[in-house]
Amino acid sequence: MSGVGIGLRDPHFDALMGDQHGVPWVELLADNFLAAGGLVPRQLERIAERFPVTLHCVGMNLGGSDPLDMAYLAAVRTVAARTAPAWISDHLCFSACHGRHYHDLLPLPYSDEAVRHVAARIGRIQDFLDRRLVVENVSAYLRADAPLSEAEFVAAVAAEADCELLLDVNNLYVNQVNLGLDAADALDRVPRERVREIHLAGHETRGDYLVDAHNSRVSAPVWALFAQAAARLPDVAVCIEWDNDIPPLDVLLDEMRHAGELQRQARAEVA
């Protein structure tokens, strides 16, 4: 899997089933396809017949302290069996606590304790899914007072769990603005050999801080950061995410083409 794909969302389903529009692959939000019957499994099969697929999840609760939800993981495994994804990803965060699910990507402390905890859970999930998991850095609005940097934390988890990484460039930028983290430094420190995918998305500005809203075009500073990422990771697959206020497909395709152009430039410079 390489090149620039898009997150396939419901409003674009018919258009993309009718014409591939030059989209080389699509990322599916697995949580939208967990239904055991009815139309949803048929839609999955149609998508997988037309496009190479990756699966992106939001419900594994990788960093949580509740027991792993094996029914959820089994449902994800069923989706994977139907779509033969190139990889399956989820987020380096927690999303549930004491049996309550928050449907948000809640930040973990960048601590050694959290590294060991989340790596062990990723290991169990990898065993269950019988594949390496791809784990994404998240945007955050709070940072627990803990000793590691974000880059150190991500790298340590990846090493201890022997998982792969999804580098969300927009999240790096959001965290730079919100938390004062150094996005360029994070790019330098990321273990490149583990990065399977890059995410790009739009954010929303609210006064002095940014919200990872996935509701707009990729911003200029994030494109600039992506150019740096592409120079370091020129052959890594890139996905454009757009989840809210979803625009006409042409807008998404325009973002996809721009990312592809930046990636080509990066490859040319590397060569």
Partner: protein, 260 residues
């Protein structure tokens, strides 16, 4: 409790409406984004995700009440009702009971005695859209099994409810985007079955006898009834079990598992 668990409990408690003091105390101060503002972002995002899920499940209720009134109901429901699983499509089954309480307690809703039943109907339509497919019913497989060992069960993609109001008519009238037809809402007794046809929910009115038989087949847990019990119940018209099969409303007839 470890530092990791303390952090998670503090953040979760804050989102649930508790004070953010513990989160703020454990967070590293950053310029430009105060910890209490950050807490509000997380609280809003989590509750917003659940609220948007309900927007999608209850379009008719939303249209009938208007955006502001529906949003107010949802906001209060989301504040009270946690989500207990990762699949957001399963969040909201308690909304009908919540709305019933609101209708009972608040004079502003007194003119909508059918509202909770309408919400239950919308939930049924939503649930069966995502329900599992049953394999074809194979009665031959049961052979000569004793009727006390046979447990009929309705199809997974089937729901049934009773209402003293014509909620199926209200639902049909307000489902589309156009101007709804005039509807006289008078009380009565309706037995409804919601089935999945061509991947979409279809609501039917059935007679009370057929509905009662279906309902008896659909009891759970200790109330689950075997075929002998159903056939022997004089209150049920068990001769119509074949009709349930013909309509594909029975998803399976399972063999009782003996406890060892």
């Amino acid at each position: 409790m470890t530092a990791l668990r303390q952090w998670q409990a503090a953040l979760a408690g804050m989102i649930d409406g508790g004070p953010g003091d513990a989160v703020c105390a454990a967070a590293r101060p950053v310029p430009g984004l105060a910890a209490d503002t950050a807490c509000a972002v997380y609280r809003s995002a989590s509750r917003g995700a659940r609220a948007r899920a309900l927007d999608d499940v209850y379009p008719v209720c939303r249209r009938l009440l208007g955006e502001a009134s529906f949003a107010g109901l949802v906001r209060e429901f989301v504040r009270r009702e946690p989500s207990t699983g990762p699949d957001l499509n399963r969040f909201g089954d308690g909304f009908a009971a919540f709305v019933a309480g609101v209708v009972r307690e608040h004079a502003a809703f007194a003119g909508l005695p059918w509202l909770a039943d309408l919400v239950a109907l919308e939930w049924a339509c939503h649930r069966i859209y995502y329900a599992a497919d049953d394999p074809p019913l194979d009665l031959d497989r049961l052979g000569n099994a004793d009727a006390t060992q046979l447990l009929p069960r309705p199809a997974a993609a089937l729901a049934w409810l009773r209402s003293a109001w014509p909620v199926h008519q209200i639902h049909a009238a307000h489902r589309g985007d156009g101007e709804p037809p005039a509807l006289e809402i008078v009380p009565g007794a309706w037995c409804l079955v919601i089935e999945r046809v061509d991947f979409a929910a279809r609501v039917q009115v059935v007679d009370a006898g057929l509905w009662a038989l279906l309902d008896a087949c659909g009891q759970h847990g200790a109330g689950r009834r075997d075929l002998a019990d159903l056939v022997g119940d004089p209150a049920l018209d068990s001769g119509r079990l074949g009709e349930l099969v013909a309509r594909r409303w029975l998803g399976a007839v399972e063999l009782r598992q003996h406890a060892v």
